[in-house]
Amino acid sequence: MTPILRVIQILMTDLFGKCPLRPPDPDIIELCFFGPGIGESIVLHLPGMGWAIIDSCSSTVKGKIINLPLAYLTSLYKGVSPPPIAFLLLTHPHEDHYRHMDLIINDYPGKIERICYPDGKSIRELKEYLARARGGANEDQLPGLMAVFDAMRGAWDRGVDRRCVSEFCDIFSKNNVTLSTGEKISLKVSAIAPSAENIEAYFEILAKAWPQEGKKFIRLQERDINLISIALIINIGKMSIILGGDVETSNTKLIGWKCLLSKNECPDLSANIVKVAHHGSINAFCDASWGQHIKNKETVAIITPFDRSGLPNEATLEELKKICSKIGITSCGKKTIKKSKIYSKLVDNVTDLFPVRSWKSLSQDAIGFIRLRYDTHGEPIEQEAYGDSFWL
């Protein structure tokens, strides 16, 4: 057992509190949403497929960095051989989605069968841009991402399957999954974003930021990376699930959700469960797509907050309250503590003066998660918010 996993075992009780750590029955659909205030990750179990992890996030517990999806899966299978992960997917290379994904790739004791990430063209150019920033300008943009790319390269050397994902690409599909009752169902996990238009738009932004001799080296604006975010649709039995990644929309440009809806190939977007796109920002809320999500279904919406930018947005929450049967939020937000409790009196006094206009010290991560378990007919078996997560 690696040192990381030993630490995970020790801190397991603190992390998962009252959550019963039993693996689901093979016929059960499970989604576990982690979102400690910065970052998100979804652990997914589907009959006929097994486990998958979408994105990665971590929290600090008693001074130790814990990768939450890794800790959860290893805790479920404590003492027994861990199951394979059918796919590990990075929706887009944003720190709040890739944070410590290298720990999953390097330390998960079971087999990872496939690693997916956004379309190779956009990632290839981003890699080259980051390498230029590091090699030429000595700037470490998107810190930690190179470690993830390193881990991925190691995984491919070990024979892990690699898949570049864009709109309408299949990630996992299986017809005739036989349940223990003898019933046969079909299963399909496919991407609904990023579109070719979004990838092209991102490409143009990268080209503008490309270093030119004699000119100032331009930092890449992280927000633009949302253009290449993967969103997924999962259809299994009578259930459908949408995991919106950080896909945004625009009133003026044909990007994101609007671009998807404009296409003939756009699948039926009605869903029992929706992971709200981009932490509930107003830029990601698209009336037309939500109109489809809630069609014919009682929709449960899950939001992973992003404290630094004050997400979810109040207006988005108000809209969702009107249309969703349930709204779960994975973190109550970072609590603030008095600066004087962290720093000496001298430092506290100086940082009260010019140039500081306001100072908000954040306490440790608010750790919690929402676990949903459903049968393949769409009947909920468990809808629980653990730790600091809650239902609105």
Binding site: G135, N138, E213, G214, K216, F217, Y343, V347, S358
Partner: protein
């Protein structure tokens, strides 16, 4: 050797230095410093003297002790309010969201977003200055100058890409 395992010479060097300060030697080796002044000042003196020189001014006996240190990243800029919001992380990993007055960066009256961008990193620290007068504690902020891309940077980047992404399937597709 003394009790800390250092030779007398080394110990003296450390005593004279403020141990909380770190000098970036890469700065002196950078091509941007190829000015006559730098060449004539540094080329003939030893490495040890190079370390001591920038921080010690015996005439003033000025020395600084860092009380607290944060790495900051600019999250948003409010040009109208002349302020910017940043996230600060201290050495223990404590995070804070702090709004700064932009007059702290420059006295130039131009819009603040001419000088800084969202995502820019900086160092913010509280130091006590030990002078012959009473010590005073102040805060400081340090941004890096924008990097002007040189032809040599292209070569460095190509070399980095060749070694770092060797065998990467994204580059072979």
């Amino acid at each position: 050797m003394n009790s800390t395992g250092h030779s007398k010479d080394e110990a003296r060097t450390f005593d004279m230095l403020d141990s909380s300060n770190v000098i970036d030697h890469a700065f002196f080796s950078d091509e941007n410093t190829n000015t006559p002044f730098v060449k004539s000042t540094y080329s003939s003196i030893s490495q040890k003297e190079q370390i001591k020189w920038p921080f010690m001014n015996p005439a003033l006996n000025l020395r600084e002790t860092i009380r607290e240190w944060w790495k900051g990243i600019v999250l948003s800029i409010n040009a109208q309010e002349n302020s910017f919001v940043s996230e600060l992380i201290d050495l223990r990993g404590n995070r804070s969201i702090v709004e700064f007055d932009s007059a702290f960066i420059t006295e130039d009256k131009g819009p603040i977003d001419n000088f800084i961008d969202i995502g820019d990193e900086f160092a913010y620290y509280v130091v006590t200055r030990h002078t012959k007068m009473a010590p005073e504690t102040v805060s400081k902020i340090e941004f890096s100058s924008p990097h002007i891309w040189q032809a040599s940077d292209d070569k460095k980047a190509e070399k980095f890409i060749d070694t770092y992404f060797k065998g990467d399937p994204d580059f072979n597709d």
